[in-house]
């Protein structure tokens, strides 16, 4: 084979790795019954491809070839280890049995393998930080270092979370399966929360100098797309819509100097119209199912904002109406706070201020910086400068995020004496 042809085969191997390595892994986990064994087999299968494909040509069904190669490599490895450990011999026998050799590996059930992998990584018996790390590692194919960097943690911490999660999957025997219909709503909810957590971590970092860590949001959107391709449930559709509609504002929410720009002050010509159109269509689709939940409602609110030509021209009555439904569907003080801000836009600052003060008086959100900055903003608009100052200062004491801090300091500086 010429140098050129060999180079093209290497490019093919790379392309197959990018498009199919997670699918191959998902199937190998099912066939081998073990995450670590499957990862090793995946690595061996691609190593074999790099060696063989240039000499024998790229197989007609590369994915099936890789699954098969990975499985044989794993059985080989177990047979070698069996000289030292009798239990490995038994496992190798079982895997090599004809019954574990279904003809339809490459087609039937393979999409199910990816769903199995997602539901296993997001099993509620695993701690939330492990669900996130395992999903990014196994489903998205991120390295431990990449995950650690994105979450501002040390790589050994992430590695330990992943090892512990895999140990629990093995020792407590968390099954590699898609939940039954009865369990599905709760289990899907856990998956959606993991995806949203990844998105939010990328959209608004909890601390640090940079407000956005784009890669994580992109990863979450990719996960959202994969999920609705495999399991088109209305709330999964709603979540993807919500992420796209938030993402559409990314370019407008920070100034060229890296300063935070609030929704009302954003340059709407910088919003991504393609993402808005896609998000709005998904909202429609989820709402028409009539089985939607909180993610869809939040997406519907984001869509009303996205379609308004400006802050003043926003349909605030519709937004308040959607918040009314959301407060019933998913009651939480944060949702109430957002509803109060919408009421302030519809009925004026004093109506909103009354609602926020009622939430704070109840003892909720006292430590939440956005509650105090929202209160400060309404006091400022009402000319109650001293109260505004106190609330901005309170908010400042509660946030570590550098752009948020600069924003609050700027607002404080703008207050009249």
């Amino acid at each position: 084979m010429s140098e050129d042809a060999a180079e093209r085969v290497r490019e093919t191997v790379d392309a197959v790795y990018r498009s199919d390595s997670r699918r191959v892994l998902a199937t190998l986990i099912r066939l081998l019954g073990d995450f670590d064994l499957a990862e090793e087999a995946l690595h061996d299968a691609f190593a074999a491809a790099v060696e063989r494909w240039p000499r024998h040509g790229v197989p007609a069904k590369p994915r099936a070839w890789l699954v098969s190669a990975g499985r044989f490599k794993a059985i080989d490895a177990m047979r070698r280890r069996a000289r030292f450990d009798a239990s490995q011999a038994e496992l190798a026998e079982r895997l090599d049995a004809p019954s574990s050799d279904p003809a339809g590996w490459e087609d039937e059930g393979v999409e199910d393998d990816r769903l199995r992998l997602i539901f296993t990584c997001c099993h509620p018996a695993l701690p939330p930080d492990a669900q996130v790390a395992l999903t990014l590692r196994e489903v998205c194919g991120l390295t431990t270092e990449e995950i650690a960097h994105a979450f501002l943690t040390a790589p050994p911490t992430v590695a330990q979370r992943i090892v512990r999660a895999k140990t629990k999957i093995r020792d407590a025997r968390i099954p590699y399966q898609v939940p039954s219909r009865a369990e599905l709503p709760d289990r899907l909810d856990t998956v959606l929360h993991v995806v949203y957590l990844v998105f939010n971590e990328g959209y608004s970092a909890s601390s640090g100098a940079s407000l956005t860590r784009h890669d994580l949001s992109g990863e979450a959107i990719r996960l959202g797309r994969l999920l609705i391709e495999l399991l088109p449930e209305p709330e999964a559709v709603g979540l993807l819509a919500l992420m796209l509609l938030h993402e559409s504002r990314r370019a407008a929410r920070t100034s060229p100097a890296g300063e935070l720009v609030l929704l009302g002050d954003q340059d709407r010509s910088r919003w991504n119209r393609d993402q808005i159109a896609e998000g709005a269509a998904l909202v429609e689709r989820a709402l028409s199912s009539r089985r939607f939940g909180p993610f869809t409602l939040q997406a519907a609110i984001a869509a009303v904002h996205a379609e308004a030509p400006g802050a003043a021209a926003t349909d605030w009555a519709q937004i308040v109406g959607l918040y009314d439904v959301l407060v019933r569907a998913d009651p939480s003080p944060v949702v109430e706070l957002n509803r109060a801000a919408a009421v302030a836009m519809r009925d004026g600052p004093s109506a909103g201020l009354g609602l926020i003060d009622a939430i704070l008086a109840r003892g909720d959100l006292g430590d939440y910086h956005l509650a105090h900055s929202a209160r400060a903003d309404l006091c400022r608009r009402l000319g109650r400068t001293a109260e505004a100052r106190a609330s901005y200062e309170r908010a400042l004491g509660l946030t570590r995020q550098a752009p948020e801090r600069r924003f609050l300091e700027r607002r404080l500086g703008e207050l009249p004496d």
Partner: protein
């Protein structure tokens, strides 16, 4: 695979039940046990007497000490257990979620450690 379901109840709350409530709770337990016998999950199970009857045994410096307790400052106390046979953790969770105390207290599901005796 075997799992132990450890049942934690608020003894105070169980003690505060009326006779009717307490009878109903007990018959729920009988029905549950019957159900998992039939389904083949049941391997064993007992209810424990209240934590005031507990004795803690230790050997320290070669001497056996038996003391009253333990009285950890927890709201819920270990009140009983089931040893079950389940296909996997999801199956075990299904069984555990039907234990009557899962509604009032907490059920901890722990896989049994198997030792290879070779």
């Amino acid at each position: 695979m075997k799992y132990l379901c450890l049942i934690y109840d608020e003894e105070k709350r169980l003690g505060g039940m009326s006779k009717n409530e307490s009878d109903a709770f007990t018959s729920e337990y009988f029905a549950f046990t019957e159900g998992i016998r039939k389904s083949g999950h049941y391997l064993g199970g007992e209810a424990l007497q209240p934590v005031q009857t507990a004795t803690t045994v230790r050997i320290r410096n070669g001497k056996v000490s038996a003391t009253d307790g333990p009285f950890a400052e927890t709201k819920e106390q270990l009140g009983g257990f089931y040893l079950i046979n389940a296909r996997d953790l999801n199956d075990a969770i299904q069984v555990a979620s039907k234990i009557p105390s899962a509604r009032l207290g907490t059920v901890e599901v722990r896989p049994i450690q198997e030792f290879n005796q070779q």
